[in-house]
């Protein structure tokens, strides 16, 4: 478990953050700019002195102001990948990669060759940072941090300095690192698309306070989740499982809590684990009180209304239960009255196959 409790201020801004993160996987810290994300990172990494706090990573106390423990940055074993990579300009790529590895006290668990191979940077080893593109720099920065074998890896807006075409590539790489190396990562971002693609756990930060911290599937698809539910791109994250006989012509059939969901086959490659994450925008879900016929929509799910919540823009967010998973639909107030949508009522949710066809976040990434 990673326990984080930090109070600190910088330039008149005060951060008071308290949350726990799972010992494995990606914890996304999501918030608008000015929410305190970089202050949180600087406090965690030991670049900024806290007013008080306690940080425990895998049982190791890194900071505990009550006990007078405050390890310097060099001894925290917290890796830091800043947005622009920050490679040492006076060292070539190979020397950059070895910078942390050389200073590591415990025996190496990671093979350098494997990291270099995973990141696809073998051909860059004798180049200088000034000769690399933004994406290449970010890969090397990731490798440098990984090879120091930190107990926690901080990713500070890792896609902010990468051009749009490279974003999907680096995201796929981060997914790969998450699978391959099994070290916990704290991913700070203001991009919902990145959260959807990578995060297992989500921490929502607003005005220097943690307003929610939970598993991502417990926060997505909930009408009451602060910050997220009010956004125009609010939606739900569905966990779809592929079936044995999974094709029907061009379409791909998946299981959602015992019901069949059909998506077009473009992203079959994303399913090597058998699970795919799909993000469905609330604005793209239609509610019907009777099972519709003669519609082009392929996915008609039996659901039950859990709750309704009015949004600032006059729309109503309807939270639906699909088995144990949750689905959000945005409808107008008129529709709520006309259809008599009330909690407990069973309704049909209609989702176009096209709304499901991309891995989570990819569509948001491509359009935004």
């Amino acid at each position: 478990m990673i326990e984080i409790e930090l109070v600190g201020s910088r330039g008149g801004f005060t951060l008071q953050a308290r949350f726990t993160a799972p010992p494995q996987g990606v914890t996304a810290v999501f918030g608008a700019s000015g929410a305190g994300k970089s202050t949180l990172l600087d406090l965690l990494a030991g670049h900024l002195a806290p007013d008080r706090g306690r940080v425990v990573i895998a049982g190791r106390v890194v900071l505990d102001t009550a006990q007078g423990i405050n390890l310097p940055a060099a001894e925290r074993h917290i890796g830091w990948v800043p947005q622009d990579g920050l490679l040492f300009p006076h060292l070539d790529v190979a020397a950059n990669l070895r910078f942390g590895a050389k200073r590591r006290r415990q025996a190496a668990r990671l093979q350098e060759a494997r990291v270099i191979d995973t990141l696809g940077i073998g051909h860059l080893l004798d180049r200088w940072p000034a000769q690399l593109s933004g994406g290449e720099r970010q890969r090397v920065a990731l490798g440098r941090a990984l090879l120091a074998e930190p107990a926690l890896l901080l990713l500070d807006e890792p896609l902010a300095a990468v051009d749009a075409a490279r974003k999907a590539e680096i995201l796929a790489l981060l997914e790969c690192i998450k699978r391959e190396f099994g070290l916990p990562m704290l991913h700070v971002t203001h991009s919902l698309a990145e959260v959807l693609r990578l995060a297992d756990h989500l921490v929502l930060l607003e005005s220097g306070q943690v307003i929610a911290s939970d598993r991502i599937d417990a926060l997505m698809g909930r009408a009451e989740t602060p910050l997220l539910a009010m956004r125009a791109d609010a939606g739900s994250l569905l966990d779809l499982q592929s079936r044995a006989a999974s094709t029907d012509g061009e379409a791909w059939l998946l299981d959602l809590e015992g019901q069949t969901v059909q998506i077009s086959g473009n992203h079959r490659a994303a399913s090597d684990t058998g699970h795919i994450r799909a993000y469905v925008l609330a604005n793209e879900v239609i509610i019907a009180t009777q099972e519709p016929i003669g519609l082009s929509v392929r996915n008609v799910l039996r659901t039950k209304i859990i709750q309704l919540r009015n949004r600032h823009d006059g729309s109503v967010l309807v939270e639906l239960a699909v088995g144990r998973q949750h689905l959000l639909a945005a409808v107008t107030e008129t529709a709520v009255r006309a259809l008599d949508l009330v909690p407990g009522r069973e309704v049909f949710a209609l989702i176009k196959s096209l709304s499901l066809d991309a891995p989570a976040g990819l569509r948001l990434l491509e359009t935004g």
Binding site: P72, H77, L86, F88, P89, H90, F99, R104, R105, W128
Partner: protein, 230 residues
């Protein structure tokens, strides 16, 4: 051009003075620049002004103040003499001290500029990769500031070669001890018929200065080879 014995002596003394001056001013300038760039402390403005004072004081005043501090009759000078047998007035070391002190502010400024050009986040990155403060300084800060440090060394060297007022006031004009090229030229000009010697010494000064410039240029280019982009 073949140099006479006394001309060689002046060249050797100049190089001695300048090199000895650099051995203490360069680390000192680096330390002072580091303090001024990275730390905010009470009295920093006064400290800054004090470091820069030799730049605005007449060199003769600097030499005179040194005489008041390190002279044989002065408390500090007597203490150094009694304890370490170190006499500064009228010695090569004294000339180096006087010349170095006058060159110090320019060196601090030059190093400071290059330190300010280093992204402090690079040092943070080094820390988070396990480098302690000293390790971080030698592995990241120092190499990145190297072009600036070399430039400062060159400037300091050139200034020490040419320093006149502070050296003659504090260390006098002793051939083989404190008589640098500048002092020797002055001496030659005071002597009837010494114009030719003065001219020859002036040409030597120019040659040394050009050689130092070329060497620094070459070193600087080697030191910053990483900044070459694709």
């Amino acid at each position: 051009m073949v140099l006479s014995g006394s001309e060689w002596l002046a060249v050797a003394t100049s190089l001695q003075v300048a090199l000895r001056a650099l051995t203490f001013t360069l680390p000192l300038a680096l330390l002072l620049a580091w303090l001024l760039v990275r730390y905010r402390f009470p009295g920093r403005a006064l400290f800054d002004a004090l470091v820069h004072s030799p730049l605005v004081l007449p060199p003769v005043v600097v030499g005179y103040l040194l005489l008041l501090t390190f002279g044989v009759q002065a408390p500090l000078g007597r203490w150094l003499n009694d304890l370490f047998g170190l006499r500064l007035v009228f010695t090569t070391n004294g000339a180096a001290l006087a010349a170095g002190l006058v060159a110090l502010p320019i060196m601090v400024r030059t190093i400071r500029l290059s330190l300010e050009g280093i992204d402090p986040r690079l040092e943070r990155a080094a820390r988070s990769l396990g480098a302690g403060p000293i390790d971080c300084f030698f592995a990241v800060t120092l190499p990145l500031a190297l072009p600036g440090i070399l430039a400062a060394a060159l400037l300091g060297f050139a200034m020490c070669l040419g320093e006149f007022g502070a050296v003659i006031t504090f260390a006098a004009n002793v051939p083989g001890e404190t008589q640098t090229l500048a002092l020797a030229i002055y001496g030659a000009l005071q002597t009837p018929g010494g114009e030719i010697i003065a001219l020859r010494l002036a040409v030597i000064s120019v040659l040394i200065a050009v050689a130092a410039l070329l060497a620094a240029e070459w070193l600087g280019r080697r030191a910053s080879r990483w900044s070459r982009s694709a």
